[in-house]
Amino acid sequence: MKPLKIVNTNMDPAALSPLRQQSSCAPKACSCTTEAAPALHDEKALRGARWIEGAIDTPAGRVPVVSTAWKAADRLGQVRARVSSFRMKYAIDPGLYAVGRPGMDSDVYVSANYKLSFDVLRRALAGKDAWILVLDTGGINVWCAAGKGTFGTTELVNRIKVSRLAEMVRHRRVIAPQLGAVGVDADAVKRETGFAVRFGPVRAADIPAYVSAGYKKTDAMRRVRFTVLDRLALTPMELRPAVKPYLVFALAMLAVSGLAPEGILFRQAFSGALPLLVLGLAALFAGAVVTPVLLPVIPFRSFAVKGLVAGAALVVPIVLYSGMFEGADAALLAASYVFFPLVSSYLALQFTGASTYTGMTGVKKELRYALPVYIGGSIVSAIGLIAHNLLVRGII
């Protein structure tokens, strides 16, 4: 965990540069130029953060004020985090932030230092005066971090103390996202800091309704959903890990198909491997896109079986009707029918990690059945592929 660096603004006024001084008082009379509060954030960590629109001085220090609107850079960041490993470093400086002009009675909302988590929260607080207490979760979202314990009791207690929250507000309560309850023991936080933890809605977008209802959640605000759009947004990161294995598979198939006594024949390599490369793509698509998107529609509860069904639904028609397998021997057909739906099944099983309703015991059970099938199926398919290549070359 990175310690908070207290910037002494008396000694180095330039240190405040990212926190634009919003004071309108005359320079000489202004208390902030002579006795400015120490900044509660590492100024380097906030440099260039365009979502900061000012700063306010509090008895405990200088707190950055954040915008509740998303700029183009925030939107771009969201897209990048959805499609690439950029998400692994999309973090902000932990600590206290302000929305609007919060005072001693304003609400305190707890968030994670994954920028997307923080962004959805600050947007939901538009028009409010509030504090945001950002925990150091290593740049991981609230729910996953709570599962790992980094969005947890210890960090919340520590962050309340180092941010000197007790000096910022008169009341003694913080509002944490409900999914943070996986890592936060509300009673322990109360014991150690005096602050009561209220678990707010699952989705930040429900905060305005939650507040206007007198800090009461409806049942719908408590429920985690998993809509078709939620699932669709996850598919790029399901496909991404499959790209490299697919390229390895493609090279292997080209080499095997092109193998001849005089070396690798490219024309033969391509024509022989093409049907398998097409089936490979179909299997990836079925497991990493079709299964997540159509999740509730595909029969059976097991993700491995759902993936198998989706994979077979794509692979079988291609083999039967594309014409690419006309005159193919039984060994090749058997290998194709076995291997590719299993690839889809494996990829679909990986989606348990992104889904919002699968438990560990269930996934372990699936793996107990599925892993031996995957290994056995791969061996059978490899034998089929070898037999096919021997048949093609007239060796057997």
Binding site: M88, W143, L179, V184, D187, F199, F303, M360
Partner: protein, 96 residues
Amino acid sequence: MKYLKNVTTLTYTGEKCTGCGRCVDVCPHAVFAMIGGKAAVLDRDLCMECGACQRNCSAGAIAVDAGVGCASAIIRGKLTGSEPVCGCSEGGGACC
């Protein structure tokens, strides 16, 4: 959406319940409801073993073997002989 039937490790001991309602408040799948001043389990099969209820049950009435329902985490845990955890902070993983 429901996952596999009858696999969850969730156990609830009604006699210990003090009726605080925290489990109802933190469960993201409405497994619990308050009935007659005490918590009741409505549908165990909706439980995803996140562990939020157990962590916030000061009466110790709830037990669940909490963990990540994530295949790649469990496979990695098996291979390394450790508890399954998300690979997020290890840098290599592209998960949650």
